[in-house]
Amino acid sequence: MEIALRKLARYTETYLVIIIAFLSILIAAKNPSFLTLENMFDLLKSYSFFGVMSIGVLMVLISGGIDISFAAVATVAEYLVALFMMRIGGNIFSAFAVAALVGSVLGYINGLLVNRFRIPPIIATIATMNAYYGLLIFATGGKWIYDLPIWFSDFAEIQLFTIHTANDSTYGLSIITMIWFAVMVAGILILRFTMLGRSIYAIGGDRKSALRVGLNVRRAEEFVYSFMGLLAGIAGVIQALLVQTVAPNSIVGKELNIIAAVVLGGASLTGGKGSVFGAFLGLVLLAIVKNGMTLMAIPPVWYEFFVGCVILLSVGITSYKGKLEKRRTATILVKA
């Protein structure tokens, strides 16, 4: 029992669960509608867009890189898919396929810049963010798209199971949430059960050693950026499903919050650390802070401030824990 507890205490996830539980109780005490199934389903649906991208961000961070351009990639994919649906038609599968393709190509370009030209990822992706987004604005003139096909808005309404409430309204678990969950499962499978996944951790831990032991560093790096792009493309479609309009400026600017959520979930900005579950919890924490503030009638102007505090606090605790640990190992070395 004690050993199990001590083991749990090593994981960032444990602390996140505790913080989330504590906050949930606090918010529910003020407003009981917070802890209802309806509110939960609603949150899970609206955060699917962030959630899908967070898995891509997670892999990039684990590999020791960073991607700033994914919101721009998502916007470009979203816009191109909207045009595709209006001009050519197709169905929901072709919409996702086009988005995934566009996203992967744009992400692959990032991977090339990082791996082949050894441009620091933050610079490479800031550059491509501006290039992708700039080209889109130039080509479209910033026009919004409203007239999406009927089948597209129908798909957004699909629920896995539906619950009828007393006052004759319904709610349920959205298919959009299921896409997010499917992406999480894929993330877990890749990271934990494939050689590629272990390579991503190894490269993030020590790139030079990874090359020395013969890991395919190039393939892994190109994969994480392409996969990030692919998920950004899918997230672009999800965004269009959620709001049923396509605006070239609706997504850009959200990338830092997603990166923050993933770091909150225990991923390290220096690479080598992070988990799908952690990234999920990080996102949940940000979501309930925002949602809770709305339910507790705290003016939304405070939202950014609180998010900042939550990030500082939890990342601060994790880093400080790491520092203490380092000091402890140093002591052991001296004693030996």
Binding site: F193, T194, A202, G205, D206, L215, T329, T331, K335, A336
Partner: protein, 529 residues
């Protein structure tokens, strides 16, 4: 063992049939070859510089071989050629298990059973012990997926092979250096290991850990696996080694059975001279102590440290790595705050909370690792030497007084006999010995009263070593107190007035150096370690 020629003769005598002989040889060839690796006339030039010059080298199956040489002798180039990272220049020949190999790659060499453990061990600190050990074999199996328990099994098998027991699910970053080394060895063992090359394996280990490592290597020998130690410090590995090959300036000086050599002979062959200690600094008379340390303790670092340094006295501190000596030095310099006890300079207590106040009180500290802690490598000798005194060289207008600065640098270069084409050359272009002199110069410029030197002659050539010793004595003669921390017992025994032995954070013995034979100090270190 018999040579291939004689074997052939014998075989022909028995069968009188050439075909049978060849078949027999092919069938038996693997077992009959004495040498795992034979290299002949290996040369390697980098941009006109001969790193290796027609070197012959061989390692027998199951042999423990040492490759010795100073920095720049060609050791690492030879390793890179053996492991396929570099190709030798034309004219040389490499055979592995009797088969001639030309131009093989690093991946090929792993296929031949050659594994290199670099000094940095190339481990992944964020992954577990099991994952680290199993990674190589996972890569070479070229599989895309694996079951979660699979690497645990591979790792456990490898650890069983050499009879060690490490927690499989612990992160490697949490292990000690020696445990990490064992992980690296286990990783090498997951393939068909035939030759294990270890680059400077003992530098970061305590004596006990070295013994464990040697035990493992002997075990490998029992399995017919060869080991090549690459080192410039051979004392520890000499007890298990079969042969020693010595390189100097890219040439092979000799290859001798280890039993015929001692560390003095090896040093002679490595450097071409024998280092002689010149006389001692003049004895110091009793005076008011310069530095007084009373019952200084820091949990996990050092405990109950009490000693003093007189003006003009050279006090040596020696002991195993991890005995707390560097931690103590850092504490006195204000960079490792102790929990209790006190230290004073000339009777006035020192504030040990910051290096700034220690510097102001006349303490200078020359760290062990001049590359990372002591010098700004791309900057000039002049800038490096003046960095500690730049404040004092301000003229009335607030700008640097160039004339005074130039005069000071000139004086420092002269006093320390720094060999440098111009004071504006970058420090990176100097030899190790001259770099170390620049570090010293930088601190001498502050006109300290107490100089703490941590491993001042580690990894520098003999001429520079002598010059630095002379300079330390000169400083002491001028009344400076010197605290000299060193691994090398002969250095503290010959240079210091008094020697303190530290072990597990405590001072366990004190010797007047002049009347104590070196062996007695050595014995006291080994006894307490």
């Amino acid at each position: 063992m018999m040579s291939a020629g004689r074997l052939e003769e014998q075989a022909r005598g028995q069968h009188g049939n050439r075909i049978v002989v060849v078949q027999l040889l092919v069938r038996m060839g693997y077992r009959m070859v004495d040498d795992f690796l034979v290299m002949e006339k290996i040369s390697k030039q980098y941009a006109g510089v001969k790193a290796l010059d027609a070197v012959d080298f061989s390692i027998a199956a199951g042999e423990i071989h040492c490759l010795a040489g100073t920095n720049g002798s060609g050791k690492s180039t030879l390793i890179k050629i053996i492991s396929g990272v570099e190709q030798p220049d034309a004219g040389g020949a490499v055979s592995i298990e009797g088969a001639r190999k030309s131009g093989y790659s690093a991946i090929d060499s792993i296929g031949y059973g050659i594994e290199v453990i670099y000094q940095d061990l190339s481990l992944f600190h964020n992954l577990t012990v099991a994952e680290n050990i199993a990674l190589s074999s996972m890569i070479s199996s070229r599989r895309k997926f694996f079951a979660p328990g699979e690497y645990t099994r591979i790792a456990a098998d490898a650890m069983n092979l050499i009879g060690i027991d490490l927690p499989l699910d612990a992160n490697v970053g949490r292990l000690s250096v020696s445990e990490q080394q064992l992980v690296a060895i286990c990783r090498a063992l997951t393939g068909e290991l035939k030759l294990l090359i270890m680059d400077e394996p003992t530098t970061a280990l305590t004596k006990k850990e070295v013994d464990r490592l040697l035990g493992v290597v002997l075990d490998l020998k029992g399995r017919g696996i060869s080991t090549l130690f690459v080192s410039h410090k051979l004392q520890e590995v000499m007890q298990v080694a079969d042969r020693v090959t010595i390189l100097r300036d890219g040439q092979k000086i000799g290859c001798h059975p280890a039993a015929e050599l001692d560390s003095r002979k090896i040093e002679y062959m490595m450097t071409g001279t024998n280092f002689e200690y010149s006389g001692r600094a003049p004895a110091v008379s009793d005076a008011e102590p310069l530095l007084e340390v009373v019952a200084l303790s820091k949990k996990g670092n050092f405990k109950d440290i009490t000693f003093s340094v007189l003006p003009g006295e050279i006090v040596g501190i020696t002991g195993m790595l991890g005995s707390g000596r560097t931690e103590l030095a850092l504490a006195l310099f204000g960079m490792n705050m102790p929990d209790s006890g006190k230290a004073s300079m000339r009777g006035v207590p020192l504030d040990l909370r910051s290096a700034r106040s220690s510097i102001r009180r006349g303490i200078a500290y020359v760290p062990e690792n001049r590359l990372t802690q002591g010098l700004v490598m791309p900057q000039s000798v002049e800038k490096n030497a003046l960095v500690t005194v730049i404040e004092r060289l301000r003229s009335k207008s607030g700008f640097l007084d160039h004339r005074r600065a130039a005069a000071l640098v000139k004086e420092l270069v002269r006093r320390l006999r720094i060999k440098v084409p111009s004071v504006s050359s970058p420090v990176a272009t100097l030899s190790g010995g001259n770099q170390q002199k620049v570090v010293l110069a930088k601190w001498i410029a502050t006109k300290p009263e107490l100089l703490i030197l941590d491993g001042p002659t580690v990894g520098i050539d003999i001429a520079a070593k002598g010059a630095i010793h002379e300079f330390i004595k000169e400083l002491a003669a001028e009344g400076l107190g010197v605290l000299l921390i060193s691994d090398e017992v002969s250095e503290v025994a010959n240079l210091c007035h008094r020697v303190l032995v530290m072990s597990r954070g405590r001072i366990t013995a004190e010797f007047p150096a002049e009347s104590t034979p070196e062996s007695e100090i050595l014995k006291s270190i080994e006894l307490t370690a």
